[in-house]
Amino acid sequence: MISVERLVKRFGAFKALDDVSLTVPEGKLMALLGPSGSGKTTLLRCLAGLDHADSGDIRLDGVDAAALRAKDRRVGFVFQHYALFRHMTVADNVGFGLKVRKGKDRPPAHEIAERVGRLLELVQLAGLAGRYPSQLSGGQRQRVALARALAVEPRLLLLDEPFGALDAQVRKDLRRWLRRLHDDMGLTSVFVTHDQEEALELADEVVVMNKGRIEQIGSPAEIYDHPASPFVFQFLGNANRLDCLVRQGVGAFGGWSFAARGVPDGPGVAFVRPHDVEVGPADGAAMAATLRHAIVLGPTVRLELSLPDQTPFEAELGREAFSRLDVSPGHAVGLTPRRVAAFPTQG
């Protein structure tokens, strides 16, 4: 088990990590999700021992990591741009972590070769052992980097934006493959991403970070269904933001009211996702709106609407529902939000 407690890291006046605590459970795949500058990569580098926190503790299986140098942590790290040794073949890259061991920890040459062979098979690159990194595609380099990190049998595998530099199709395939590999090998892994879809699809636990702080930790479903803050809600997908007024657990926006349990009286913000709103005829619905544009996106239609006070509002519905509705730009429609998330206004 890996635990991080009250980690603080400053770069000059900038606080990259601001009192961060979390636990990576054994055998789980954890995502650090956040925009750039949120501190997620710094946290990953602190875990690897490549950066050092100003204060706070990291414990690797109960051992204080501060006592271990990067080279003794037995942590696998996959760099965003792979950082393969350019002058070494694929096989030499993968075997590097074993070859640099000293004394009796260093396996004999034939055993290293055998393990390298097994790893290359595992990452489906058995035929490319003699190639140089520059002769490989992005996806192949990624897998070499992974094999190299796994060669040292790490207690923790860290991946920095593992799919960031790949094109969309390769990224999807690799994602599924990595998930399977993680489960098959019983790894404990942490990866950094700014792509919420990637985090929600791949991870057992998602840590949402913002400005060096943890906003929320939870399973993908928890995070998505019960976001703890306006930031999390907005970061996990498109959302319409409505400034509202809350009184005794009921929020009001225009003439429409909704449940806002647990939100103190006063100004608040309400979020509605585009697909969580029903669009119907203008009469009798909760909110009146005017259709500005309708954009067909494959099986769905995105409606760009404006509310009576000119606030823009976005809704998404199926092609069929849209043709049943039978409206064109300039027409009035009625909106009925199915789910609303309300938060007190901050600051």
Partner: protein, 281 residues
């Protein structure tokens, strides 16, 4: 007729440009080289060999080799340290260091020699102390080495800094996380990645170390058989109207330049795949 392309100039213009370039090369590079060789062998190979095997010539060649053998390794070490520091760390005064490395290029060689005289000469800052301890720096080998090191120290660093900066520190970090120590990382990751740049740097540094005239001339004292390097020896012989002798030694220096160029081109050609691979990556 050649295929017409948008940037193609009319044929006469093209020929004019090529002629000018080649003519310039012939007049300023090939002609002097041929002249040096022609003069050196003007009285036959025998006279050339006698001129080279004279005691003073041999002493000059030996001294040049010694100076290069000290200055080049020193500047390799300095170049590696400086480029490593500049490329892999952030520290205050970094840009100052980078500009200072260029100083020997921008300062007159006379100054490069004179600073050592001012420091270590009899009237210099440390002169009396050196004299009291019977140590000779100026007008002796240490002075020549110092002047040569000063003049040649940018070569290796200038080759390596852009290379290392471009490569960043990712690979070193990867090696460290995989369990390699600092020395191991340097030997098996950093050094192989910069070896071609390092080699060019060494070749250029060596060529300059052997060929330096100005700075060395100031500190040498021109003592025959003792503090004369090859370039200085050429001048002395020439001033004594010993043209065969002067050009014989000069032909060796010219040969050095040709060999350096050939070695550089040969290495580039021989390892072109590897060089292309490490740039593309």
């Amino acid at each position: 007729m050649a295929r017409r392309i948008a940037t193609g100039d009319p044929t006469p213009v093209r020929w004019l440009l090529i002629t000018v370039a080649l003519g310039f090369l012939a007049v300023f590079l090939v002609l002097p080289l041929v002249a040096v060789l022609a003069e050196a062998f003007a009285k036959g190979v025998g006279a050339w060999w006698v001129a080279l095997s004279g005691e003073d010539s041999r002493a000059a060649i030996r001294l040049t080799l010694i100076v290069a053998a000290i200055a080049v390794p020193l500047n390799v070490a300095f170049g590696l340290c400086a480029s490593w520091a500049v490329a892999k760390y952030d520290f205050p005064g970094k840009s100052l260091l980078v500009s200072l490395i260029d100083l020997p290029f921008s300062v007159s060689p006379v100054i490069s020699g004179l600073v050592w005289v001012l420091l270590f000469g009899a009237q210099g800052l440390l002169g009396p102390w050196l004299q009291a301890h019977d140590l000779k720096v100026v007008f002796a080998i240490p002075g020549i080495v110092l002047a040569t090191v000063f003049v040649t120290f940018p070569f290796v660093a200038r080759e390596l800094i852009p290379l290392m900066e471009e490569q960043g520190r990712d690979e070193e970090e990867a090696a460290i996380v995989l369990g390699a120590g600092g020395l191991r990382t340097f030997w098996s990751v950093t050094l192989p990645n910069v070896k071609w740049g390092l080699l060019y740097g060494v070749l250029l540094c060596n060529a300059r170390a052997m060929g330096e005239f100005g700075a060395v001339s100031v500190v040498s004292g021109h003592i025959r058989g003792l503090t004369n390097t090859m370039p200085l020896h050429v001048e002395i012989l020439y001033n004594e109207y010993d043209f065969v002798g002067a050009f014989a030694v000069a032909s060796l220096l010219a040969l050095l330049a040709v060999v350096t160029l050939a070695a550089k081109t040969g290495l580039e050609w021989w390892h072109r795949d590897e060089i292309a691979a490490s740039r593309r990556h």
